[in-house]
Assembly symmetry: C2
């Protein structure tokens, strides 16, 4: 935890805040904070800042807060991901928010098992703590916006222009025509990166994505798992800008 993130509603009108639960334990047992010590804090979807410890005890750390004037920029990369199996998705949430994504659009696909959708991890209560963990790791405050879509075709044909109205759309594919660097060039537009299921998109899905503006890009001959591919591709897109 390289940052302690609070919700706006946690901060009192006099600019004090109480860390409790996991955050208090981290402050007390890992950082071993004492009175007057300063720690990095932030507000979800708000600014970074500094907390000055005023009291420690009773499973609670009280701090005075000061915040920067500007909030961090929203990451300029969005991810459209064919839902991986729950065990993989559980580990991916924090990695995605740590790398920085503006939104996470999860979708069904022909090679996604229907029962992957039956998990608490696709509800805000389930994934939000994991996204928070990644933000606190990476010192970011921008909570990715998450949406879950059980109908791939409806998502692409009807909903996607609302979710991602403007920017470059790319889809990772072994037969992609060009590298990410070549495709994105020095553009600073938002990028929507589509990553398929372990077995790949099928021909219909790939054709539909192409029809809706996605350029296939390749990462080379290696076939990677969803987790590794997501991290590698997001890294390359970020690095390119």
């Amino acid at each position: 935890m390289n940052l302690i993130l609070f919700d706006t509603s946690d901060i009192r009108a006099d600019a004090t805040v109480d860390a409790t639960g996991v955050q208090a334990r981290h402050l007390v047992t890992v950082l071993k904070v004492t009175k007057d010590q300063q720690v990095r804090i932030g507000v979800v979807d708000g600014p970074l800042g500094v907390g000055t410890v005023t009291a420690v005890g009773d499973g609670r750390v009280t701090m005075d807060c000061t915040f920067e004037a500007e909030s961090p920029e929203r990451p300029r990369v969005d991810l459209l991901l064919a839902l991986p199996r729950p065990k993989v998705m559980r580990r991916l949430w924090a990695q995605l928010s740590a790398l920085g994504v503006g939104q996470i659009i999860l979708t069904n696909a022909s090679k996604v098992e229907r029962d992957y959708f039956d998990t608490h991890l696709l509800e805000a209560d389930g994934y939000r703590p994991l996204l928070l963990e990644g933000l606190q790791q990476a010192r970011d405050t921008r909570m990715p916006v998450v949406s879950v879509h059980k109908q791939f075709r409806k998502l692409i044909e009807a909903d996607l222009d609302g979710l991602f109205p403007k920017g470059r759309r790319i889809v990772a594919h072994p037969d992609g025509e060009a590298t990410i660097a070549h495709t994105l060039g020095h553009s600073t537009e938002r990028v929507l990166l589509a990553v398929g299921p372990e077995g790949g998109w099928n021909d219909f899905e790939l054709a539909l994505l192409r029809t809706h503006g996605f350029t296939p890009v390749t990462m080379g001959p290696r076939t990677l798992t969803t987790t590794t591919a997501c991290i590698a591709l997001l890294t390359l897109v970020h690095y390119q800008r």
Copy 2:
């Protein structure tokens, strides 16, 4: 499993081979192979090839093999990694071999707990199946060479020139002077990438690395976990060449 890898000793003189165990189960239950079907095979540290199924049954799939003339090139990136905790390292093995590394040099560091070394996963019997899994995922045959070092200083001062005699040495560090792209340019030399423990290298370690030719490179302001950082950095180094 996008490739079935065998050891040279598994291949009989008449160019036939038996897949057993996990590999046979994968062929039978996932690929549902039948007689005369062809599947991608390879020899560890040898060539890729094609297996033609001649018999299925008794937990065994027998194939006739043909192999390419050339073996895949050894990945031109090596990794020097401060040993992460066993749970993290367990998941990392397959990801590293899938991304492609020539050797994995694991080391102690001041922020590595001593008991991280007490795991079966640092013995060949423990890690080799996991490395194999990554190679089979990525369709590579080149098994990374692994060495484990409990004394960081001795590793850097005495052993490293033997392990990595020639090439570029870089160390990932938040205060790094330049990006990977800038540091590596279009060089095609081997690269040794050093990745520190979760809490970072300490000043002594970083100074020792610099004295021994490592250039600090930065990935930007985000602090990533070991797993995410390794995948992101290896991706960037590979992509740069």
